[in-house]
């Protein structure tokens, strides 16, 4: 009997539970990359076209921030530029969710207690989770390499692409393993680990946006921030450029350190506990708690403050870059002309285009916030709490509306703080955009988030047991169709299905009320339909 007894059986259990989920992540990533590679080959068959594209849009810091650094003008190099960072984000999210699912989530809902009472060692659960997730990452890396080879791209680059994606996924698996020990709830661990993926992506983005361009006008050397991000390490492997293999040791070293830390924590803490012990709380409820809205706010409070602080800080960071972007680009008339065309107006200030691109990121964040806040409806229903609440004199509509209000107010605050953060920093470094327009730009993203809120309420009313997967699928589909539709070469009709496709690029463009009003109407219709369905259906415990 060792601390690892039973690991094999737990691995089989985890594989059985994940037999649909992990294959979907891997197959989905492969399909996206295949589509992305095909789109590149289709759009830019000759090198001259690729060089023009990379010297044009490829030189904008906003594009570098979103995509990474160009490593050359080959077909493969362009596939890297357009798809690589996003693939690493997918690998990171797949890994973090899977690790938390098989560690803290088991512990939180009591499954691990049943297992732990059997012939199962103390380390078996964590070991099994790490083995399964490592396997998934290796499979993902191999599948991506195969996809690129299938697209007739060079073997070295294809291998570096797959290996770096897998290594990045593994680094986040390590971070999630530590988070699962620190946080008492699976929600908390998932939120922390997924935020780590997002932060890593953005830190890399900042490093890449501030990078230095090589004399060939194409390749970019990242600034130091890219080197403190696991996703940055991945991009530094430069697949289809001059591959740098040693950097792959960095994510693997992070994995090793995190795994050692996670095992040390498992060995020291009590079952079911986090690191911070519980203190006694109030014996009577404050007046403010005593309503459906008060309860919903209390349940969402911690997460909301976390999102708001992050949003404001990131906004401040973006705001400091605007002026530099403007100055760096003004000397390049080709770029100015192209970005003006992109924005659809004759604005001269490139910082505004940059801010508009960043606001799209905030639109996604606000939508993500709304989705996770509204999924509490389902977790309260499945967890049984709602049964006791609806057995009191609280009607169903009132209960949903309370959660909806928390989600919408939180998203509004998030976007206002983002705009305010950008604006304050922009003014502080001597930019000309100003606070007011940037807050307006933030609020212009709200209707898209509201539309996704309506979508979540609809699926909650219609298919309660599928609410969680459908809600996230809706968000991912909106991102893929809306913001990445061009990268993956999707037809316009498909792209228009995403609410993000209808948000004007403010502050670079004029406010157009039509599409925003249409989004609000769609959101209201979806919400009303969802509420009506929920009122008619059985509680699905």
């Amino acid at each position: 009997m060792s601390a690892y007894t039973g690991t094999g059986r737990l691995i089989r259990l985890a594989l059985r539970r994940d037999r649909v989920q992990l294959p979907i992540w891997i197959a989905g990533s492969v399909l996206l990359l295949a589509a992305g590679a095909a789109a590149v080959a289709d759009e830019f068959p000759d090198e001259a076209g690729r060089i023009t594209a990379l010297k044009g849009a490829g030189t904008s810091p906003a594009v570098l921030l979103m995509r990474g650094t160009p490593v050359g003008a080959d077909l493969g190099a362009l596939v890297n530029f357009r798809n690589f960072a996003f693939m690493m984000v997918l690998a990171g999210l797949m890994s973090t969710f899977a690790i938390v699912r098989h560690t803290r989530q088991n512990e939180e809902n009591g499954r691990a207690e049943m297992l732990g009472a059997g012939s199962v060692g103390r380390f078996a659960g964590l070991t099994a989770a790490l083995v399964v997730v490592s396997g998934a990452n290796l499979l993902l890396g191999a599948a991506l390499t195969g996809t690129l080879l299938g697209a007739d791209l060079p073997a070295d680059g294809a291998l570096a692409f797959g290996a770096a994606t897998a290594a990045t996924g593994l680094a986040f698996a390590g971070l999630a393993a530590v988070a699962a020990q620190l946080f008492q709830s699976a929600r908390g661990a998932n939120a922390f680990a997924a935020t780590a993926v997002g932060v890593a992506y953005l830190i890399r983005g900042i490093g890449d946006a501030l990078g230095e361009r090589a004399p060939d006008g194409i390749q970019v050397t990242s600034a130091w921030p890219s080197w403190v991000s696991p996703i940055g390490w991945g991009t530094q492997a430069r697949p289809f450029g001059e591959e740098v293999w040693w950097v792959l040791a960095l994510p693997l070293a992070l994995l090793a350190a995190c795994v050692a830390g996670a095992f040390a924590l498992v060995d020291r803490r009590d079952f079911g506990a986090g690191l911070i012990p519980d203190r006694p709380g109030p014996a009577v409820a404050a007046r403010s708690l005593l309503s459906p809205l008060g309860l919903a706010w209390r349940l969402n409070r911690g997460a909301t403050f976390g999102w708001l602080i992050g949003s404001a800080l990131f906004g401040l960071g973006i705001g400091t870059l605007g002026k530099a972007v403007n100055e760096a680009m003004t000397g390049n008339p080709g770029v100015t002309k192209m970005l003006d065309q992109l924005a659809g107006t004759g604005v001269a200030d490139l910082a505004d285009t940059f801010y508009a691109a960043m606001m799209n990121v905030y639109g996604v964040l606000a939508a993500g916030f709304v989705v996770q806040a509204l999924l509490r409806l389902r977790s309260e229903e499945a967890g049984g709490q709602v049964e006791a609440v609806l057995a009191t004199a609280v009607g169903r509509i009132r209960w949903v509306t309370a959660h909806l209000a928390c989600a919408v107010i939180g998203a509004t605050a998030l976007l206002v703080l983002a705009g305010a953060g950008m604006g304050v920093a922009d003014v502080a470094v001597g930019g000309v955009t100003g606070v007011g327009p940037l807050i307006g730009a933030g609020l212009a993203q709200l209707p898209a988030a509201l539309t996704l809120a309506g979508f979540v309420v609809l699926v909650f009313g219609l298919l309660p047991r599928l609410t969680v997967p459908l809600a996230w699928a809706g968000l991912v589909a909106s991102i893929v169709c809306g913001l990445l539709g061009e990268v993956f070469g999707l037809p316009e009709a498909v792209r228009d299905l995403s609410p993000f496709s209808h948000v004007p690029p403010i502050p670079a463009a004029e406010v157009t009320a039509g599409p925003l009003a249409a989004l609000v109407i769609v959101a209201a219709a979806l919400t009303t339909a969802g509420l009506a369905l929920f009122r008619r259906r059985n509680l699905a415990v």
Binding site: R298, G384, Q385
Partner: protein, 301 residues
């Protein structure tokens, strides 16, 4: 006076599963009514229909004179519910949860709350995630009984409580019953139902198989007798209503249909009886007869 709960022919299906197949349940106002049945018989489903959480597929359901689905919010102001599996919010304290449930129902009695916390020995400052099943149950019990309502719906409310707390629970039910409140008590614990309830309904596979006052139900059952005399007691086997006779010299043990008890006692009077013990039929025997039938029928199928 109308009945607090009146259900007839209630049907509820989930996909292909028939949870309730024409269930009947009547609880008079002011009655403490036991609701018995094996796991999966449909007790919780019935209660969820009564609370308007599930919609009846067929049948009549009236609760406090209203329709539990349509009038849910208005009716819920007049009742308190303790679920069988109490789920609370991990980061709220027990005290906060009690106040929340009480307030959402329309307010609770502060003095009564303090008294019940004392009686159930519950620490209201602890976060709900640290509570055991029994303590979560206490939170729901205090929240329910601190509200002055007409009807208490209790779904196996004592399944996690120890015997001391069980006594506290029985005391509390008697108090609200004395006040005139109606109680529907779904339970597995026969002594609890026998101690508290005046009426009982037994359900199996989604239908009511027995219903009435405890006295009526006992009438349908057998009393166990053990008799010791100076000479062997003869002639018992031929008497109507005597079952499972075991004669052991001067001692005899047997069961008698409760209705035939007077005839058996007259017969015994002719003997020089030294000792006579009788066990009244327990609810458990009553229940086992129905549950036992179910397993027998099940085995026969």
């Amino acid at each position: 006076m109308t009945d607090a709960i009146s259900v007839s022919g209630l049907v509820k299906t989930f996909g292909t599963t028939h949870a309730l197949n024409g269930l009947d349940l009547t609880v008079g106002t002011g009655e403490v009514h036991g609701f018995l049945g094996p796991n999966g018989a449909g007790k919780t489903t019935t209660i969820r229909v009564l609370l308007g959480l599930l919609r009846a597929d067929a049948g009549q359901v009236r609760l406090l004179g209203g329709d539990p689905w349509r009038d849910a919010v208005a009716l819920h102001k007049r009742l308190a519910y303790v679920p069988g599996d109490v789920s609370l919010w991990p980061n709220l304290t027990g005290g906060e949860s009690i106040d929340l449930f009480g307030d959402l129902r329309g307010g609770l009695d502060k003095a009564r709350r303090a008294e019940l916390l004392e009686r159930f020995q519950l620490d209201p400052t602890k976060r709900c995630r640290t509570y055991s099943k029994g303590n979560r149950q206490k939170v729901a019990l205090v929240a329910a009984f601190a509200s002055d309502v007409e009807l208490y719906v209790l779904d196996e409310p004592t399944s996690g409580l120890d015997p001391l707390m069980e006594a506290a629970f029985q005391q509390t039910v008697r108090e609200v019953s004395t006040r005139g409140a109606t109680v529907l008590l779904s339970s597995h614990i026969f002594s609890e139902v026998e101690a508290l309830c005046s009426g009982v309904s037994i359900i199996r596979d989604g239908v009511t198989v027995e219903s009435g006052t405890l006295a009526q139900l006992r009438h349908l059952t057998r009393t166990s007798l053990t008799v010791e005399a100076t000479e062997p007691v003869t002639g018992l086997a031929g008497l109507p209503g005597v079952h499972d006779l075991v004669a052991d010299g001067t001692r005899a043990r047997f069961d008698v249909d409760s209705a035939q008890l007077p005839g058996v006692l007259r017969h015994l009077a002719d003997f020089d009886v030294q000792a006579l013990t009788s066990h009244p039929p327990t609810l458990e025997e009553l229940f086992m007869r129905h549950y036992g039938d179910a397993t027998m029928i099940g085995a026969g199928r």
